[in-house]
Structure formats: C-alpha cells, structure tokens
C-alpha cells in the first residue's frame, strides 16, 4: 500500500472488501509485531497493574468487605474489586501509548505513509485503533490469567463476555489517545498526557474505590467521578466480567467512543483538522490532501 498512487474518489469507492481486510490486517500486524518485539513494553504493561495488585491491594485488603455492590453477590476482597479497574488501567495506558506511537510515526514520516493509502481516512485510523485494541486484549488476557491465581475467579462465562466490553473500551481510550496525539507536536510533550490525562482519569474513577465510599469522603469528588468516562469503562468491564451488562455504562462508553473517534478523524484531516491549523509535521507535509 505504501507505493500506491494518490487515487481519486471513484477509485476509492471501488475498493473490495478483501482489500479493506487486507489493509486492516497489515496495520494490525505491524502494531502486533512492534509490540512483540518490544519485550520491555509487554513486561512494563503487565508489571504496572501487577504492582498495584500485589502491593497496593495487599495494604487495602481489609478496607472493603463492608458492603455488597452489584455485580458482586457477596463480599469481595480488595484484589477482586480492583481487578476490573486495573484491566481498565492496562487499556488506558495502552490507548495513550499508541497515541505516543502516533506522535513518533508522525515525526518519522510513517503516518504520512499510512494516510497516503487509497483507503478512507476513517478506515485507516480505525484500523490503527483496532491494532492497539488487539495489543491491549493480549495484555489483559495475560493479566487476568495471573490474577486467577490470586483468587480473582470470575465465572468462566465472564471471560468471554468481557471481550466485547474490552474492544469497546479499548476503542474509546485509543480514540481519545489519537485525538490527543493530533494536538501534540513532539514526543517530549507526552509527559503532559501522563499528568493531565492518565492519572486524573484513573484516580477519579471507580477503579480503586467504589463510588459510595468516595461519596462518604467527598461529595465533590464523587460528582467528578460520575462525569469521568473512565468510571463507566471500569464498570462496563466489571459487570461483563461477572456475566452481566451494565446498560448505562455501555451507552456512555459507546457515546464517548463515537465522539472521540469522530474528533480524531476530523483532527487527522490535513485540510481541516488541528494538524493543519497548528502547522505541525503532518500539517506541513505535502500529504494526500486534495489541496
């Protein structure tokens, strides 16, 4: 696809389904290869939630076990409660990391190569997101396998039910990352994402503590958590892991996915998006834009 000439619109609409699949496979495969070759990244992605599970959760063991909240049917240890939150954390970091890789791709010129493809931009960007989601699924699978030995034992059906939830939440976080990456000029600015996006999203959510507990300490914080889309990602994953569907969480996560994805596709449109306006590397490049 890299050497394809710039097509006109009629040529694009004539692209076959197998061509689309082939294109998506290429993008996903590249991301998977990159991930597999970066062993440290794989280990880091696992170590982060495991540290939380083994160390942080150990200290908080007796904190919970005082109230039963859905989807749980009985009292649960803190390890059990925090696991869906840590799964969300894996996806959050993964989403932001793939946005980091996009900044890198833009700096290196790979992004131009991608966007020059005859396939529509929304498709290319969604494929890129799907590649990130596939990587996050891999990380989550290994993490859940480890937690099983830590007595986090959801019903077997839950492991299946959580997959669609993970795909949706992975897409939402990836789209958010993509939207953010369109506004970042250089790789170094990624630390800002860390401080201003990842940490607030993770801490001001139901990942670490149930919201009723948050409400007891600070009603304001509770309100903030209620408006944090990450809360609903965690709850969607939590319910799915126990074979249940949290409709409210599903609706909110799906809604945010559409908004973030739309925003990212718009932002990566060189003629209209933020890149053009900011005059970033992508914007200055003689890309595939019409004008």
């Amino acid at each position: 696809m890299t050497s394809a000439p710039v097509p006109n619109r009629s040529e694009v609409s004539g692209l076959s389904l197998s061509g689309y699949l082939n294109c998506m496979r290429g993008i996903v495969w590249r991301e998977a290869l990159r991930f597999l070759q970066q062993r440290e990244r794989f280990v880091a992605a696992l170590v982060r939630p495991l540290v939380w599970l083994f160390i942080f959760a150990a200290g908080f063991r007796s904190v919970l076990g005082v109230s039963i909240i859905p989807p749980y049917e009985t009292y649960v240890l803190y390890e059990v409660y925090v696991t869906p939150g840590l799964v969300g954390m894996i996806q959050l970091f993964n989403g932001m990391q793939s946005s980091l890789s996009m900044v890198y791709d833009r700096e290196m010129g790979n992004m131009r190569t991608l966007l020059i493809s005859p396939y529509p931009r929304w498709f290319l960007l969604t494929s890129k997101l799907m590649a990130g989601v596939a990587v996050s699924l891999l990380q989550v699978a290994v993490f859940l396998a480890i937690t099983w030995f830590w007595e986090v034992e959801p019903p077997l059906f839950g492991y299946l039910a959580v997959i669609p939830a993970l795909i949706l939440s992975g897409l939402m976080l990836g789209a958010l990352g993509m939207l953010l990456s369109s506004g970042i000029k250089q790789l170094e600015n990624f630390a800002g994402i860390m401080n201003f996006v990842i940490f607030p999203m993770f801490f001001a959510s139901s990942a670490l503590y149930p919201l009723w507990r948050m409400k007891e300490t600070s009603p304001l914080l509770y309100e903030i958590c209620q408006y944090n889309p990450f809360t609903y990602i965690v709850e969607l994953i939590r319910f799915a892991l126990y074979g249940q569907l949290n409709l409210q969480a599903l609706a909110i996560v799906a809604g945010f996915t559409v908004v973030f994805l739309g925003g990212a596709i718009f932002a990566y449109n060189p003629s209209k998006g933020l890149i053009a306006r900011r005059g970033g590397p992508g914007g200055n490049a003689p890309g595939p834009k019409g004008g």
């Binding site: 150990a58 063991r61 007796s62 005082v66 009292y75 240890l77 019903p155 409709l247 409210q248």
Partner: protein
C-alpha cells in the same frame, strides 16, 4: 440508579455455580436476634421466602430429629418456643429456665439440653412431656453445647470460667472439666466421636480435644493478613461428617477459617459478612450457611469449591441457623 439487567440466563448460572443449583431444596431457618423474627430461606433459589414472628431475642435454633418442629431459644422470654414447620405457627413453649441461649438435642431426639446463660445452669428438658428433668450447675455464663454421637457425654462450655464441662447424660452430673482459652463459645464432637472441638472467642483459638482421654491434642490459632489479631474471635464451628474438615466462624474478622480435620492446619480463610457468628451445613454438606450479625445477612459457602457464592439479607442481628433434613 444504575440499571442493570442480568445478562445470563438461569442456565448459564447453573453452569458457573453448578453445585448450588443442582443441590436438593432444603429450608434454612435463621433467628434474627434484634428483630424477634426467623427468616426462612430456600437453599436452591437462595432467597428469603418468608419471615415469621417469634419470641424476644431469638438465638439458638434447631429442628427436631423428625423435622416437624422448629425449636427457638427466646432468650428474653425465658422460654424455648416450638413452631410447626408446616403451618409456621407456635405450637407450645417449653420450660427452659431463664435466658436460654444455646441448646442441643440428644441424638435420640429427646431430651433437650439448654444452656441458661444468666443462671449458670444446664437445664434438661423432656420435649415430649414438656417438663424439666434436671438442672445441672455448671460454670459461669454457660453457652456452648455439644453432645457425643452415642449420646452418653454432654459437653458444656462456660464463657467466664473458661472451661469445658463433661457431663454424664445418665447421671446428669459433671465428671470432668478441661481448662481452655478465654471465653469458650462452642463445642462440637466429630461424627466418629473421638474428637471434641471447642472455640475460644477471646483467646482466639480452637482447642481440639481427645474425647476419650479428655486431653487437649492441639490448639489452633489464626493469622489473617491485613486483619488485627484481636478481631479474630472464633465462635461457631462445624465439622464435616467424614471429619476431614472443620469450619470456624471468626467473628469480627469477617472470615470463616477452613481447617484440615487431620493435620489441624488452617487451609483457607473465606470472606463473609460482618461479625460471623454461627454456621450450618445443608444435610448433603454441599453448602455451608453463616450468620453475619452486624451486616444483617447470611453468606453461603460452596463447600466443594471453598468459595463464598452469595450473601443474602435477612433481619437484624442474625444469630443461629437451622437447616431442614429434606
């Protein structure tokens, strides 16, 4: 309100909790100390099906051997009430002596041995003739009551004297005493009749006693990561019929300890509701129910998988549990 719908059909649940749904339906009775009621729970659906009013401060609860009557210690009414399990109506009240707390039936089904907490007595009552057969003076604050499978030896523990009193059921007299750790609450023989288990609430231990020589074989203590030692207060205890496992309710530590019946080592701690008090197996020993006094619920343990499957809200301060034979 977060609206949730069950994504699973009942069949899918049956797949994940097979043991729970496949078990025969037993009826579980829970005495609610503060509500003066008994909650009735179906062991298949694990839902409260009925709540009946009983006397004041119901604590000890058991079913007669024929399964027709439910006996309840109405502590503040100074009586033992007898309910018909079919009609759920009060049939009669037995003379029990003051403040009955916990009791045990003779393996033959009669008489009933009642611990009178305030009077330092064990009262022996003929439940057919409704009369007191004997009053046996024991230590201060008697509570735990265990009877050997052959019905010859009755063991009562007195909370303040810190003793297990061995009583001959033919003469109704104490023939031996064993000092155990502080505040013994519960005594239970294994089915083989060779071991007696006694829990000590303040001492935080369980004494395993040789029933023949009446010597302590071992004392089991508990250590739960992240829980203060003083919160570990062993109260209720149940031994499986084969004697291979014992389950101990550890009070405010909100855990049930699983003990190997042969090595006497703790195998696992299971998280249940707050201040877990008493325990009861279903007759097939597939499920174990725990009464959680402070969180006003009972927890259900899958005995095969050693996993807590559900907690069910009941009345205030659930205390004792009795389960039907069929």
């Amino acid at each position: 309100m977060r609206k949730t719908i069950k994504f699973l059909t009942a069949a899918a649940f049956a797949g994940s909790f097979g043991v729970v749904t496949a078990a025969p339906a037993y009826t579980v009775y829970v005495s609610n100390e503060k509500d003066n009621t008994v909650s009735i729970i179906d062991s298949t659906s694990l839902e409260v099906t009925d709540t009946i009013d009983v006397g004041q401060r119901p604590r000890g609860i058991l079913l007669t051997k024929d399964g027709k009557h439910l006996l309840i210690c109405a502590s503040d009414d100074d009586t033992v009430q007898v309910f018909d399990v079919k009609t759920k109506q009060l049939v009669k009240e037995l003379p029990s002596g003051p403040d009955p707390e916990l009791f045990v039936l003779h393996p033959s089904g009669n008489p009933l041995y009642i611990a009178n907490e305030d009077d330092n007595l064990v009262t022996v009552v003929d439940i057919a003739a409704d009369k007191v057969l004997a009053e046996i003076p024991v230590g201060v604050e008697p509570e735990g009551m265990g009877i050997s499978p052959d019905g010859k030896v009755l063991v009562n523990t007195s909370e303040t004297t810190n003793m297990a009193h061995f009583i001959d059921t033919e003469t109704n007299e104490i023939f031996d005493n064993i000092l155990v750790d502080s505040r013994p609450r519960y005594a239970e023989f294994n089915d083989a009749g060779d071991k007696l288990w006694v829990t000590s609430e303040i001492g935080g231990t369980v004494a395993v006693i040789d029933a023949k020589t009446r010597k302590i074989i071992t004392k089991i203590s508990f250590d739960i990561p992240g829980v203060q030692p003083e919160a570990i207060q062993p109260v209720g205890l149940r031994v499986t019929k084969d004697g291979k496992r014992a389950f101990v309710a550890l009070g405010p530590s909100n855990r049930v300890a699983v003990i190997n019946g042969e090595s006497h080592e703790v195998e696992k701690y299971l998280l249940v509701g707050q201040r877990v008090w008493q325990l009861a197996f279903t007759p097939d020993e597939k499920l174990l129910f725990t009464s959680n006094g402070v969180s006003n619920d009972i927890s259900v343990i899958d005995v095969g998988k050693l996993r807590v499957v559900k907690s069910i809200g009941v009345g205030r301060f659930p205390w004792g549990i009795a389960i039907s034979n069929e």
